[in-house]
């Protein structure tokens, strides 16, 4: 649904084809056009299922491989199960090796991503709403600055941020990963587009007439209307922090603070370095498999949001 606001909003406001229609009813009717009239094609479906195999086979391999012992990884065919199921043993190894550090990584990933996602989504929602609904001195200039920042590469920021944090004594603490993730210019952009569409000006006026203060209007009236957009920004921020590797790699030294991505990469470097007399490969594979489960589940929930977002054209949530 982020995508809906990302793509749908702009199409509405800046389309090359000027069209007079109000955006509200289009979605239903274009859907009626698209899926009621066409003849479904078996050939195309088969082709797409072949395409789907490309996307799913690696994950299938990961599932199968995480049920195998280290020896069976090498001696049995990768895309099918071996006769012995070692999944449970592997899971136990993952959670107990290096004094159970994997569990710490899992907790860190959760803490970092949930904190940054909630924080950045709220900051972006407040700012996006203000940019959409108020015209105030300097507003456009600040917003242009924020838009421009979308294109600044992370690299240009991460190394100097590290040096600044080192001076402030913040490196190798959770803050080093959380604080930089709070600034999400793209989130502000999305919420501005979303707020412009989903919060009716007349509603704000009505609340003003009733004597509500501006901030009260935001927190009691607008926030509720903005919540689908907020949840979307939140979920995508969650994913980007959960998947982040570069920032924590640079900021953190002690394995106890690593998120899953950095920790697993570390295991991989040890195993590939040849010093792994332990059954490291199966641990890495099983650890990887376990680490993607929370996100896949989150996306199944997220799916509901983007489905409903799509159905309503992401206009009224």
């Amino acid at each position: 649904m982020t995508t809906q606001t990302a793509a749908g909003g702009p199409t509405r406001t800046g389309s090359p084809l000027d069209r007079p229609s109000p955006p509200r009813q289009r979605s239903r009717r274009s859907r009626a056009y698209s899926s009621d009239r066409p003849r479904r094609s078996i050939v195309l479906t088969v082709v797409m299922c072949a395409v789907l195999l490309y996307f799913l086979i690696p994950l299938w391999w990961l599932l199968v491989a995480s049920t195998k012992s280290n020896a069976n990884l090498f001696s049995t065919f990768g895309l099918w199960f071996s006769s012995t199921n070692s999944l449970w043993v592997n899971i136990q190894t993952v959670f107990t090796s290096d004094n159970g550090v994997y569990l710490l990584w899992l907790r860190n990933s959760l803490v970092y991503s949930v904190t940054s996602a909630v924080g950045s989504a709220f900051l972006a929602t407040m700012a996006g709403y203000a940019f959409a609904k108020y015209r105030f001195p300097g507003g456009n200039a600040i917003f242009s600055g924020i838009l421009g920042a979308i294109m600044i590469p992370m690299t240009a920021l991460t190394i100097p941020t590290y040096l600044l944090f080192a001076n402030a004594g913040l490196t190798n603490t959770p803050w080093a990963v959380i604080l930089p993730s709070l600034a999400s210019p793209f989130g502000v952009y999305l919420m501005r587009v979303y707020a412009a569409d989903s919060v009716d000006d007349t509603l704000i006026e009505a609340a003003r007439v009733d004597g509500a203060g501006e901030l009260r209007i935001f927190f009691t009236v607008a926030l509720r209307l903005l919540s689908p957009g907020l949840v979307t920004v939140l979920l995508f921020a969650l994913v980007s922090t959960w998947n982040n590797y570069f920032l924590p790699l640079i900021m953190l030294n002690s394995p106890d603070l690593y998120p899953l991505t950095v920790g697993l990469a570390q295991w991989q470097a040890t195993a590939a370095g040849g010093s792994g007399s332990r059954a490291l490969f199966s641990s890495i594979i099983t650890g990887s498999f376990l680490s993607i489960i929370p996100l896949v589940i989150a996306f199944l929930f997220l799916q509901r949001y983007w489905q409903s977002g799509l159905a309503s054209g992401a206009v009224k949530g």
């Binding site: 996307f55 491989a65 990887s288």
Partner: protein, 319 residues
């Protein structure tokens, strides 16, 4: 990197959403301004601290050199001239340019075709297909690189196993000549679905009046896709293109992970980002690393901006 002249394709940010009342700042107006400033302040503070300040600091750092003998000295643009003649850096940028020119069109082309197919409703199992293609996006790039590294690998990768049973040799995915293609494959695997969803969402929001007109004109399905749907979602296509440009030039995770299994193929300067990382944290030359990161940022901005300009020009020519 002035922010003001960078525009996203969605049109100017200045579109007023509220009629302007020009009567001087009334008390009510002042209250609204105050509320607006209160609402943007938390973000602006974070933005200033973690984006503006590091950026400025990076520019400042890049003007100095830190040596064992003599300490830190101001060297003006020396780091930049050094970077522009540094073959490690230039080769890395060139490699990323090749990557961009090949991988991005393939990825976005496939994403667009899939999105159009899903939107036109000619498939069975649509929901399943859509979700299946999207799901790799949920896999962290580190895990994706790890996994594909094993899949490519000669030890227990399925390709190698099948080839062995057939008594042929498997493609050397991790060799010098194949590596860039192998990385392109990983990145495409991760992001085709994500881009597809953006484009699909844009397609869903095209107003139906356009199709009615096309139907009256007797346009076929492919014709409709080509001359109505694709032009209508041009802003979304440009958006995905720009994000892909930004992502490609910053490539780090995938090659850095594959380096653990193919250290002879992927050097520390394989991508500009890896080079900057190694300069800063292995060589401890953060001044030079800052200059490299800055130039890379400028390259990204220039390329993204020219993507926008070229499409705008096409648009104007089409009218």
């Amino acid at each position: 990197m002035t922010a003001a002249d960078v525009r996203l394709p969605q049109g100017p940010p200045t579109t007023p959403t509220e009629p302007v009342r020009r009567r001087g700042p009334s008390p009510m107006r002042r209250r609204e301004n105050a509320a607006a400033y209160i609402l943007i302040t938390p973000f602006v503070v974070v933005f200033a601290l973690f984006i503006v300040v590091p950026l400025v600091y990076s520019g400042y750092l890049s003007l100095f050199r830190d040596q064992l003998v003599g300490g830190t000295t101001f060297v003006a643009l020396d780091n930049y001239t050094r970077a522009l003649t540094d073959s490690s850096f230039l080769t890395g940028v060139g490699r990323m340019a090749i990557f961009l020119l090949i991988q991005v069109p393939i990825m976005l082309g496939l994403a667009l075709v899939f999105a159009l197919l899903l939107d036109s409703g000619v498939l069975y199992l649509q929901r399943f297909v859509r979700l299946g293609i999207f799901i790799p996006y949920a896999v962290p790039s580190v895990i994706a690189a790890l996994m594909w590294g094993y899949l490519y690998g000669p030890d227990f990768g399925p390709a190698a196993q099948i080839a062995k049973n057939l008594h042929i040799s498997a493609p050397p995915f991790l060799s010098q000549n194949w590596m860039l293609g192998s990385i392109m494959n990983i990145v495409s695997w991760e992001f085709i679905g994500y881009n597809m969803i953006i484009l699909y969402a844009a397609l869903r929001s095209i107003p139906s009046e356009l199709f009615d007109a096309a139907a009256v004109d007797g346009a076929g399905r492919v014709r409709t896709a080509w001359s109505i749907k694709i032009p209508a979602i041009r802003p979304a296509i440009i958006l995905t293109a720009i994000f892909s440009v930004i992502g490609s030039f910053q490539l780090f995770n995938e090659p850095n992970l594959l380096r653990t299994i193919a250290p002879n193929v992927i050097g520390i300067d394989y991508t500009p980002n890896m080079y900057a990382y190694n300069l800063a944290f292995i060589n401890r030359d953060s001044n030079y690393a800052a200059a490299i990161a800055f130039i890379l940022g400028v390259v990204i901005m220039v390329v993204s901006y020219s993507v926008q300009l070229s499409t705008q020009r096409k648009e104007r020519a089409a009218r």
